[in-house]
């Protein structure tokens, strides 16, 4: 058996499985939707303020969650990248741990904490800080909290990878040349970690845009994001055309974002050699 044939045969099962169960259905349903209803479902989406508001809510929640995850995740990752203490191992386990725990379980934890009769309200009422329970669960706030909880591990791991690849001597070199810690961060560490920041933010933003469990459990029935809306159109409104439009628009939004980021950063990434030191 020549090598070309070997490669072909090895690639065959995965290629076929993806083609039959993934690519063909994705394309077929797109064409079917357009064939049956034309572009009306897509036009409806972009002309109906109700749908546009859902898109905007999804983007807003994702932007806020990504931004907060970055702001909290960056110092965390930096500390983990530079510390030599035993704490690092514990932190890695804590970071990986929620990875393995279902989003349902994690959202449930926040439901217990944030509910009207939840632990936070019990505590605040108990110390007399509030007289009426705060409505936290089933709000955008709860969704954002749950989302950040879901996303920070991905953010930290992404940043940790790039920060660990930055030679600590480069920072020391900056100090020895008269840069204080803030200047060293701004002129050396931050620019060198931008590839990791961009890729982690894109990953986390995408996950947030497409997330289903967190908005469903923490946002309540009146809070709608793109993914929960798909299910609602199918199960409640029985409007499969609208569900198709939302599904494909969500897919398109994500692909466009990935494409823009990849194209606009490829030159910079190349020059930096992927953030590695020369």
């Amino acid at each position: 058996m020549d090598r070309k044939r070997q490669a072909f045969l090895l690639a065959l099962p995965a290629s076929l499985a993806l083609l039959v169960f993934f690519i063909i259905p994705m394309v077929y349903i797109l064409f079917k939707t357009i064939a049956e209803n034309g572009f009306s479902d897509f036009v409806d989406f972009f002309t109906d303020p109700f749908y546009l508001d859902i898109l905007w809510t999804t983007v807003r929640v994702s932007l806020i969650s990504t931004a907060v995850s970055l702001v909290l995740g960056y110092p965390t990752a930096y500390f983990m990248a530079r510390t030599k203490s035993r704490m690092k191992k514990v932190m890695i386990i804590i970071i990986l741990f929620p990875f393995l725990v279902s989003a349902v379980v994690r959202s449930y934890g926040w439901m217990v904490l944030l509910g009207t009769k939840g632990i936070v309200n019990q505590f605040l009422l108990g110390i007399g800080l509030i007289s009426e329970p705060l409505k936290m669960l089933n709000t955008e706030f709860a969704v954002i909290i749950g989302m950040i909880h879901l996303l920070i591990p991905y953010m930290v791991l992404g940043l940790l990878g790039v920060l660990q690849s930055i030679d600590p001597n480069v920072e020391y070199a900056a100090y020895s040349l008269g840069a204080n810690p803030l200047q060293t961060f701004a002129k050396v560490v931050f620019p060198l970690s931008t590839p990791g920041i961009i890729s982690s933010c894109v990953l986390v933003f995408t996950m947030s845009m497409t997330s289903y469990v967190t908005p469903k459990l923490l946002g309540g029935s009146k809070f709608r994001m793109m993914a929960t809306m798909v299910v609602q159109e199918i199960n409640v409104s029985f409007d499969w055309g609208a569900a198709a439009a939302i599904s494909y628009i969500l897919l398109a939004v994500i692909l466009v974002i990935q494409l823009i980021v990849t194209l606009s950063t490829s030159k910079y990434m190349k020059r930096m050699g992927g953030g590695k030191n020369a």
Partner: protein, 264 residues
Amino acid sequence: MRDGHVNLLCKIVAILVMIFLVAPLLIIIVVSFTPTAVITFPPQGFSLRWYANIFTGTGKFMSGLVNSLKVGVLATAIDVFVGVFGALSICRYNFKGKNVLLNYFTSPMYVPSIAFAFVLLQVYSQIGGITGMTRVFIGHLIIILPYIVRNTVSVLHVFNWTLEDAAASLGANPIQVFFKVTIPLAKPGIVSGGILAFLYSFDEVALSSLLSSPRFVTLPIRIMNYMELTFDPTLAAISTLLILASLIIIVLMDKFVGLDMFMK
């Protein structure tokens, strides 16, 4: 280090983040032992009644667990072969379009699983006759494949292929080379990819919630359904068991493959 205050700031943020990550899970564990139906903190006493309720209550958690394990194990087992073969085809041979093939194999990662779930739902209703486990299984088979391909490729990418030649020069035939050299060396990637893939399937909600049939419901969906009807500490009990299982998995992973493999 001299830049003590910067490090201190990072350390404080890091510790707060860790507390933030762990707190909801710890709360769940504590709450699961509460004797009362209404959750209070700290709990008024200690009871295992909610654990008993997992098995005796209306949640059908055990059948959910069995279903989740079935789908997860089957999909992972098949994908380990399909994915490792795919990864080998990319890394072991030189041809144009290797990157295109890799992107093709990992493409399900870029598609929102809810969109894919909707598409499968439509296809099933068109074709008809696809029932029970198959509905969820096909979806999981596709969405977990990228994890196995990606982790295996990340190991094979830095693989020293001359080792295969070395083994061959020592008299190993191609099949022996494959099973005694290539596979053992790629093992960390295969194992970590397999574990991630299984966990992804086990925890998956978006696909399962659209594709589950009443006769075949996975554990996360059982939990979500229960949540909508009864918000009692049975949920905390089953969640605690899942958290415990994750903890065991992470300890085993640390011992056998090292946690580095999961940080890619």
